[in-house]
């Protein structure tokens, strides 16, 4: 991957410690528009910490983040969203008592101004939610006025992804274990969605344990172990065996793509 194409996102030399625990050491990653990058690794390998630094939830002790070549500093999640980076977390981060449209637009509601006062455009948001779900997520949702609590796991996932896709000027979509809690059909729908989001020119970063899914959807795989990046491979030129070896720490010498 040494073409002159500038990555839409790059992280370099990221360090993050919690007390004595060094969660990420010299973490780095590059994400390209129209590409799916998978981050794999055992529990505690530093995947989630690295991603939380990217999304502004944690602040790195050292290192730099560049978006579109420009240095970026994320003090909080809002900064990260404004830079075009949005994430769907494992727990989906939905507000269970609010219905789907309120969740999809949470944090960037549509308003109608009446006498200069912003009022929520509930109808507009509901209409737009139907459109996003149908055209960009490929899901039809019945319980649009019900609390998200009453939706199925797959429907909740769709709402969470619709929310991220809906974020203004999305450049990088991060999916943390998107299919961990889904059935086969919902998994397929989600992986299709990942592809369709990628095809719209968005860089997708996906964290997963399941190499089957990773090889089905990702263009590159970045392996982390003990807080360090131990390898980056192209899925087209690699095998699950090889990646598995990197995850557990064998055969490291044989693959030196990074």
């Amino acid at each position: 991957m040494s073409e002159a194409v500038q990555p839409v996102l790059s992280m370099r030399g990221i360090d993050k410690s919690f007390g004595g625990l060094r969660a990420v050491i010299d973490g780095h990653l590059e994400a390209h528009a129209g590409e799916v990058l998978a981050i794999v690794g055992d529990n505690g390998a530093g995947k989630s910490t690295l991603i939380k630094v990217l999304t502004g939830v944690y602040q790195a002790d050292a290192g730099e983040i560049r978006v579109g070549g420009q240095p970026a500093h994320f003090r909080n999640r809002r900064d990260s969203i404004n830079a075009g980076i949005d994430a769907v977390y494992q727990n989906l981060a939905l507000v269970d008592l609010l219905p789907a449209p309120a969740n999809v637009f949470l944090g960037h509601e549509r308003v109608v101004k009446v006498l200069g006062i912003p009022f929520l455009d509930n109808r507009g948001m509901r209409r737009e939610t139907v459109r996003i779900l149908q055209e960009r997520v490929g899901v039809h949702l019945d319980g649009l006025d019900q609390p998200a609590l009453n939706l199925s796991g797959g429907q909740r996932q769709a709402v969470a992804i619709a929310r991220a896709v809906n974020a203004a000027d999305l450049k990088v979509l991060v999916l943390d274990e998107p299919v961990a809690a889904l059935g086969p059909q919902e998994t397929k729908a989600t992986l299709d969605l990942v592809r369709s989001v990628r095809d719209k020119g968005i860089a997708v970063i996906i964290i997963s344990h399941n190499l089957e899914h990773v090889f089905a959807v990702a263009d590159r795989v970045q392996v982390m172990r003990g807080g360090r990046v131990v390898g980056v491979v192209n899925t087209a030129e690699s095998t699950k065996r090889e990646v598995l070896g990197l995850i557990v720490g064998a055969e490291t010498e044989e693959v030196l793509e990074a």
């Binding site: 507000v95 008592l97 609010l98 309120a102 944090g107 009022f119 609590l149």
Partner: protein, 334 residues
């Protein structure tokens, strides 16, 4: 009769249409039951003079309940509203009586003091990070203390016209002005809750604070909005009460907080945050004011009234906690 206690295995995620009104249905049934009891026990309950008394009482709790609904929806609570009402009203009275202020200006000053008290509460909660319950319980003492010091044991009475007019006057000789103020407050609350960031983010913060923060919602700012609004509402309630009695002293409004919280929770706003309802608050306020009035009409000794209202509050909140627990238990079957 259809009850919610059918076999759990047959439950579906699709809830019956009437479940949307279940929160209001319970208190509505209680209102009807109370009316039936009073029809036999004391028909004067339905006389126009008594209905006016109930309306005047409701007006105060409509104003308080509107703001409290937003506070509780965001998983907060404000126990200081009685003292804020007293402090604002006492200052207003002193500005008029001792300072010779114009009554309108004095009322504006009272609302200003309420807003400041609410802001102080929010700073203590969001910046010093004292839990809502303890912060407002302690500030209740502070505001009450200041009101007592200022009033120095006196009763201030006989105010110029706009104040008694707001408290007990009638529009076109029929509609109590204070009830109009109360309804307007609830309408404002309805719009705030359903059509503005203030309501939407209160529900988000109370429903899932972590998610709200992840969505980029400024929790500190919105907690501040809620408590400032609550403080302003408490001041308006203080003005209404002062107008109704055409007198005020520093000890008024002691039952405001519990009574308001009970009305809001009886109406179906979830005490543990995430979901509120202004319509429910209207019904809850109606029920509680009617119960209080009925006890007076039935000549319950005052001290027993205190016992009864405490028991009603515990019973209603306990009932909704039980419902909530049961609902969550059902969720495990999904």
């Amino acid at each position: 009769m259809t009850t919610a206690t059918g076999p759990v295995a047959h439950r579906r995620r699709e809830l019956p249409w009437w479940s949307r009104f279940i929160n209001v249905l319970g208190p509505m049934i209680m209102i009807v039951a109370l009316c039936i009891v009073m029809a036999f026990a004391q028909p004067r309950f339905f006389g126009v003079p008594n209905l006016m008394i109930i309306l005047h009482d409701m007006a105060i709790y409509m104003v308080l309940g509107m703001a409290m609904t937003l506070v509780i929806t965001a998983r907060g609570i404000d126990l200081s509203i009685g003292a804020v009402a007293a402090l604002s009203a006492v200052v207003m009275a002193m500005l008029i009586k001792d300072g010779g202020w114009n009554a309108y200006l004095a009322m504006a000053a009272a609302v200003g003091i309420g807003l400041v008290c609410g802001f102080v509460n929010s700073v203590i909660i969001t910046r010093i990070r004292v839990p809502d319950l303890l912060a407002t319980l302690a500030m209740d003492q502070v505001y009450r203390g200041i009101a007592l010091v200022l009033a120095a044991g006196t009763v201030l009475a006989q105010f110029p016209d706009p104040i008694p007019f707001i408290g007990r006057g009638r529009l076109f000789d029929t509609v109590p002005v204070s009830a109009v103020v109360g309804i307007l407050a609830l309408l404002l609350g309805f719009v705030l809750y359903n059509y503005t960031f203030i309501g939407r983010y209160a529900a988000a913060i109370g429903g899932n604070k972590e998610s709200a923060i992840l969505a980029g919602i400024n929790v500190v700012r919105h907690k501040t909005y809620q408590y400032v609004l609550m403080g302003g509402a408490a001041a308006v309630a203080g003005i209404l009460l002062t107008g109704r009695l055409n007198a005020v002293q520093a000890t008024v409004g002691q039952g405001f907080a519990l009574h308001t919280i009970a009305a809001v929770v009886v109406g179906g706003t979830v005490l543990f945050g995430g979901r509120g309802t202004m319509v429910g608050t209207l019904v809850g306020v109606t029920l509680l004011s009617m119960v209080t009035n009925a006890m007076v009409m039935l000549r319950f000794p005052f001290f027993w009234q205190l016992v009864a209202s405490g028991v009603i509050i515990i019973a209603s909140i306990g009932f909704y906690s039980y419902m909530l627990r049961r609902d969550n238990k059902d969720k495990e079957d999904f």
